[in-house]
């Protein structure tokens, strides 16, 4: 019996941005993301309130996994954040905070949304073309002949996530490992276009961080029993490999719907097992040394293979299949029927390894383009955070190889960019307004909001009541204790700018970031050689940050453009 229920009418809300409800929830969301930002950011405990797993994090990707928002406008924001993070891993919080700031700062301005949106677009293109140009003073080209910049980049990412719980020494250790893991994924033979290999993070929870390590090739976890049974392996030449993605467990899961009638005395199981043993015979005939299966191998087949000195490794999981196939040059076999010899591949060697209490098979490829990062951390929640952070770092390194630049981090890029935009809109408004018909006043209003949004974003790095200063020469970010002595003492109080490029030794003048100051021409920093040789710079990923900026402005524009929210309440 079906029951019909009258449909509820849809709810239509006009000018959603002016509603109190949205403003409150938007400010809660901004509060969450902004308080997470930077190396001294505060952590969030995500849990289901009923004794489930607790995740302690300050990363956008982990937060997003736990965030479930109801307001449609917030959904737009979190979806853009999600998309950005899935493409670039880094700068998710940056994007979200900037977007919230952009919306917040145009609130009081009495201009038509279209004007705001159009001018925001102009300012964005001003920014992107500057950031991509040679003249850009807040980016450094990456010198691949030394590890300096790359190490600084990885370090900056690791230190920006306090929930990893790393000490200084551990940060150094993990940065070096991440970089080495990445370098191992670059194929030795450079061709026209390089295809990067993969770096696999292998969990080893409960051990000390300092016990983490990197190995070329792959680690497959196994039981001691299986390891004992198969080793030692003695073979001088490479091992011939067959890789199965189909289950060899001997079940028949695809019997379809309905009932299958089998006459008495017929055993389907033994029929399948016979088929498996035939397959085994073929593998032996083809001189296979190593059989790897994504799923389970039937114990009888394993026994058969091992009596013929074929090593069988099963239950490797779907995550390892792609790198395994790449590394060994195999085609994953998906049927129990005859196997084409072309689907076989090879590995150079196979040995066993023990880390902590876990046993592993260690597959060493002929050409190393796969690395395993064995990651340890003391507790689960810190391990999860460290894993995500290392994944981000590996991804960022990949992005950096494509576009070999890094941005100055620690808030310097944001303040510098704001100074640049102020200067441009004041001194060359014509060049910005040439295609659009808006007045200079309108431009100044929106530019001020845009710059404030950027500066406030930089200010979000401070969580302990300090003040943010900017110097009047480079437009970099400086932090000072609140209620500090008068201006004359600043050079004594300040040591380095946010990114670490400039020190108080240079004769600079500072002003509070929040105060209205006279626009100045932000100068180009030190020559690039000096920059790339500097130690301990805080750096950000070029590609991710640039995209974050674009996504933030576009999402803000989209939200500002909303006139109605129509919700289907059924």
């Amino acid at each position: 019996m079906s029951r019909l229920e009258a449909k509820k009418p849809s709810v239509c809300e006009s000018k959603p941005l002016t509603r109190e409800r949205l403003r409150t929830t938007l400010s809660v969301l901004k509060g969450i993301v902004a308080s997470c930002y930077g190396p001294s950011g505060r952590l969030k405990q995500l849990h289901n309130g009923a004794g489930g797993h607790v995740c302690t994090t300050s990363q956008s990707s982990a937060l997003l996994r736990g965030l479930s928002v109801t307001h449609p406008v917030l959904k737009i924001l979190t979806t853009s954040m999600q998309n950005h993070v899935s493409c670039f891993s880094d700068c998710g919080l940056f994007m979200a905070i900037l977007c919230c700031n952009l919306i917040e700062y145009v609130e009081g301005i009495d201009l038509a949304p279209t004007t705001v949106i159009e001018l925001n677009k102009q300012l964005l293109s001003l920014c992107t073309s500057y950031l991509k140009s040679e003249a850009c003073a807040c980016r450094i080209p990456v010198d691949f002949s030394s590890t300096q910049i790359l190490l600084c980049l990885v370090r900056s990412i690791l230190t920006s996530k306090p929930a990893c719980m790393l000490t200084g020494k551990e940060v150094d250790h993990i940065s070096a490992l991440v970089l080495r893991a990445f370098l191992l994924t670059i194929p030795e033979k450079a061709e026209d276009h390089i295809i990067l290999g993969k770096s696999i993070i292998v969990p080893l929870k409960g051990q000390r961080v300092i016990d983490s390590t990197v190995l070329p090739g792959m680690l497959i976890e196994t039981s001691e029993v299986q390891l004992m049974r198969t080793l030692p392996i003695k073979k001088s030449s490479a091992l011939k490999v067959a890789l199965f993605c189909v289950s060899l467990s001997g079940d028949f899961s695809d019997t379809g719907e309905g009932t299958l009638a089998v006459s008495y005395g017929v055993s389907l199981e033994s029929a399948v097992l016979d088929q498996l043993l035939n397959l085994g015979r073929q593998l032996v005939w083809d001189h296979i040394d190593l059989v790897i299966c994504q799923k389970v191998i039937h114990p009888s087949l394993k026994q058969f293979l091992s009596t013929h000195h074929v090593i069988a490794i099963d239950r490797v999981g779907v995550a390892l299949m792609e790198p395994l196939s790449k590394m060994t040059g195999t085609q994953p076999i998906g049927s129990l029927g005859s196997i084409s010899p072309s689907s076989y591949g090879s590995v150079k060697d196979l040995c066993s390894a023990k880390f902590g209490s876990k046993h592993f098979f260690h597959l060493i490829p002929n050409e190393v383009a796969v690395s395993s990062l064995l990651l340890c951390n003391r507790n689960d929640t810190a391990w999860d955070e460290l894993k995500l952070t290392c994944q981000t770092a590996l991804h960022v390194l990949q992005l950096t190889i494509k576009e070999p630049f890094v941005f100055l981090g620690g808030g310097c890029t944001e303040t510098h960019l704001a100074a640049y935009v102020r200067h441009k809109t004041l001194n060359e408004p014509g060049s910005i307004l040439k295609d659009v018909g808006y007045t200079q006043t309108e431009l100044h209003l929106i530019a001020e909001a845009f710059c404030s949004a950027l500066e406030s974003l930089a200010g979000s790095l401070e969580h302990d009541g300090g003040e943010i200063l900017t110097d009047m020469k480079y437009g970099h970010f400086w932090s000072v204790q609140s209620h500090s002595p008068p201006v004359a003492n600043w050079p004594d109080l300040l040591s380095r700018c946010g990114c670490g490029l400039h020190s108080n030794q240079e004769e600079l003048s500072w002003s509070f970031l929040r105060s209205t100051h006279h626009p100045f021409v932000p100068q180009n920093s030190l020559p690039h050689e000096a920059a790339s040789s500097a130690n301990n710079l805080t750096l950000d990923c070029f590609t991710a940050k640039l995209s974050g900026l674009q996504v933030a402005v576009e999402t803000a524009n989209l939200i500002l453009d909303l006139a109605y929210v129509i919700e289907d309440k059924n």
Binding site: T25, V28, S40, G49, L260, Y264, S300, R315, R378, G410
Partner: protein, 712 residues
């Protein structure tokens, strides 16, 4: 779905307070005199007796996020190291309140995090000076062959252990003989002499008292460890005489403050090491020690000349609880002891005197068992085509088939990791074959190694290569009636020549204590395992903590003098204003961190009942702290004043018969990691400013305590 978000550190940090209150519950577990706790379920009126943090947290309601994190940290530490959870739990509490104190004084959170973290690092590096290397422990085991002390009654092995709260673990003098007897009886080699090797070292100590001339010279030649040698008799680190100045009279190097301890002291004696690591729990430690010796003997017999370095393998120790038997039956035996149904008595009598062939089955031994990863199709139906009368069920057919295979390969013993079909069991008993289910994985592995059997998933896989040889099945005790438990099961012993497996049997009249006994045994086993594995131990009894305390005070005083210098590297983010204000807050934070150790020491002293109040204990510590710092080198101060400190910290004034101060040892990595984990947890909670409740949880929030939550 609604997501709720609550700010948790308005003014007072809720998370830290929760940590503190959880940690407080474990306070009485610290130290050798542990007060057990009853945990009572108000609804079911069930109660459990617990005396370790792991069991405590298991029984508590930990649905809060912080409670979960604490439980996770304690479990992870226990899984990795098997010991040190008391330290972990205590420091979680101590440092939570230390951090709260810092917050109260207005220290910025990132400064607390970096100073505490690096302060602990600095301490971990400092305490290396109190490490004692362990050398050639097992050379001595061999060297003592000449002393056949088996006849010497080991009267004094556990003489003064009269801790009131510990009564369940007090050993009787004759217990030791009992152990050796049981070993002798079941020694397969039939040479009882072999087994007395186990106790030779103790015997030697006995002989030592008689000051036999040869023995004396032998000991003198190994001067470095003589002091420890006698101390075996005193065992407990908590009951020492006050008037002893043994360490002061130590030879060479002690008076030189800079002398590395490792040169002066080393630990070369297994008994001394075990006693030092027992931390008051001698009965458990003695079992562990016996287990080590059994493994060592076995390794020697297997390799002939012990050429490879011997490794103590905890995974090859198995425990078996037999509640109801008298306490004195507790022992360790080579081989595998397990429970079998009383109905197989006749069968065992029959199998008793001959080696049997064995098959090892990895899964269940039932008809419908399939290996992991095999998905059964539910929609297959067998139809009968003809009207053949089929009385035998499929299970009957299967059992018949299994029996056929067992007969074919002449197998009389089957060990299965999983369950065993009752029907098959009956059939097997009938045909004089013993089937044992639910066998531990490492036991299977040990049998596989010793007998040459290969583990199989199905009995149909069995071929000649899979079958193992030479297993002996007997009753655990000659009088089998003794060892029948409530479920009509009796203890049987399976062993084979050269099997690397030791079973520790726990007996006792009080069932509620069995868990605790087992836990304590494993704790001692883990301690000894790490000591042997790392080949080094700390001088224990609070010495390490005392050194941390004085070290922190020294760097605190230094940083007060030096002022704004050189410590900006301690903060990840060196450009922030926090880096420059680090010097300002550093002494305060270090002081708070040091308070954690101070609290640890005073609680330890208070718990061991040597002081009537924690305040009194605290005064004692302060006094020695000042002296240690004034001496210029706290580590040499600790070494030279060890006896006094030790007696001050742990003396309860009970015993004045003892002549020597025994060394107390602590294990290295598990201890340092426990500190690190505790601090990590506290700092993780400290840096958390809000909790985000996702999913269905908001329902409960709505009903209970919706105030303070923001909804998205």
């Amino acid at each position: 779905m609604v997501m709720a978000c609550r700010v948790i550190n308005n003014r007072r940090h809720v998370g830290l307070q929760q940590l503190l209150s959880f940690a407080e519950t474990g306070r009485t577990f610290l130290g050798p005199v542990k007060s057990s706790k009853f945990i009572i379920d108000e609804e079911s009126h069930e109660s459990v007796l617990i005396s370790s943090p792991v069991r405590l947290l298991e029984s508590l309601d930990l649905t809060s996020a912080v409670g979960q994190l604490l439980n996770e940290a304690v479990q992870a530490h226990n899984d990795t190291y098997g010991t040190g959870t008391n330290t972990l739990l205590f420091f979680v509490g101590a440092w939570s309140s230390a951090v709260e104190e810092c917050l109260h004084l207005g220290v910025p959170i990132p400064v607390i995090v970096s100073v505490m973290s690096e302060g602990l690092n600095s301490c971990s590096e400092e305490v290396v000076s109190l490490q004692v290397p362990i050398h050639n422990l097992f050379d001595h085991v061999d060297n003592t062959n000449t002393f056949s002390g088996f006849e010497t009654p080991s009267v004094n092995l556990c003489p003064f252990l009269q801790i009131p709260s510990d009564t369940g673990l007090i050993q009787k003098d004759h217990e030791l003989k009992d152990v050796s007897q049981s070993m002798t009886i079941y020694s397969l080699s039939g040479r009882p002499v072999k087994s007395c090797k186990l106790f030779r070292l103790q015997a030697k100590v006995e002989a030592n008292k008689d000051a036999s001339q040869t023995l004396q010279t032998l000991i003198n030649s190994r001067l470095a460890d003589t002091s420890c040698r006698k101390s075996i008799l005193t065992h407990s680190r908590h009951f020492n005489s006050t008037d002893n100045n043994h360490w002061v009279s130590k030879p060479d190097g002690l008076e030189q403050p800079s002398a590395a301890t490792s040169k002066t002291y080393s630990c070369n004696d297994l008994v001394e090491l075990a006693v030092g690591l027992s931390h008051g729990d001698h009965s458990s430690m003695k079992l562990v020690e016996a287990a080590v010796r059994l493994q060592y003997q076995n390794a020697c017999m297997q390799q002939g000349s012990c050429s490879l370095p011997f490794m103590f393998d905890v995974s090859r120790i198995f425990t078996c609880c037999l509640p109801g038997l008298p306490e004195t039956s507790t022992c360790v035996c080579p081989g595998y002891i397990t429970l079998a149904s009383i109905s197989s008595t006749a069968l065992i009598k029959e199998l008793k005197d001959q080696p049997v062939r064995v098959v090892l089955v990895q899964g269940d031994l039932t008809e419908n068992y399939r290996h992991l990863g095999f998905n059964k199709s539910t929609n297959i139906k067998t139809v009968l085509e003809s009207m053949k009368v089929n009385q035998d069920s499929t299970e009957e057919l299967w059992a018949h088939h299994v029996l056929q295979i067992l007969t074919q390969f002449n197998v009389h013993l089957v060990l299965a990791r999983g369950n065993v079909s009752d029907h098959l069991n009956e059939k097997c008993v009938y045909s004089k074959r013993l089937v044992i289910g639910s066998v531990n994985g490492s036991v299977m592995q040990a049998f596989a190694e010793a007998t040459g059997a290969v583990q199989v998933a199905y009995i149909t896989q069995v071929n000649e290569d899979c079958v193992g040889n030479g297993v002996y099945v007997t009753f655990w005790r000659s009088v089998s009636v003794d060892v029948v438990d409530k479920k009509n099961r009796m203890a049987i012993l399976l062993k084979t020549e050269g099997i690397n497996l030791v079973t520790a049997v726990f007996t006792g009249p009080v069932t509620a204590q069995m868990q605790t006994k087992e836990d304590r045994f494993w704790t001692c086993a883990s301690r000894l395992y790490y000591a042997l594995k790392e080949q080094k131990v700390f001088i224990g009894g609070g010495a390490v903590e005392f050194l941390c305390l004085s070290h922190l005070q020294i760097i605190e005083e230094q940083s007060l003098k030096k002022g704004n210098q050189a410590y900006s590297g301690w903060l990840h983010n060196s450009s922030s204003w926090l880096a420059s204000s680090l010097a300002l807050y550093r002494p305060t934070v270090l002081k708070c961190l040091a308070n954690g150790w101070h609290k640890y020491l005073s609680t330890l002293m208070y718990n061991t009942a040597s002081y009537s109040s924690e305040f009194e204990a605290s005064t004692f510590i302060q006094h020695h702290l000042r002296n240690a710092i004034d001496s210029g080198s706290p580590s040499s101060y600790i070494l030279s004043e060890y006896s006094e400190l030790n007696s001050g910290v742990f003396n309860s004034g009970i015993s004045n018969k003892l002549e020597q101060i025994p060394r107390v040892y602590d294990i290295v990595t598990p201890k340092i990691e426990a500190w690190r984990r505790a601090l990590d947890l506290v700092l993780l909670v400290l840096q958390t400013d809000s909790e985000i409740v996702t999913g269905h949880g908001h329902m409960q929030i709505n009903s209970k305590e919706s105030e303070g939550f923001l909804f998205l």
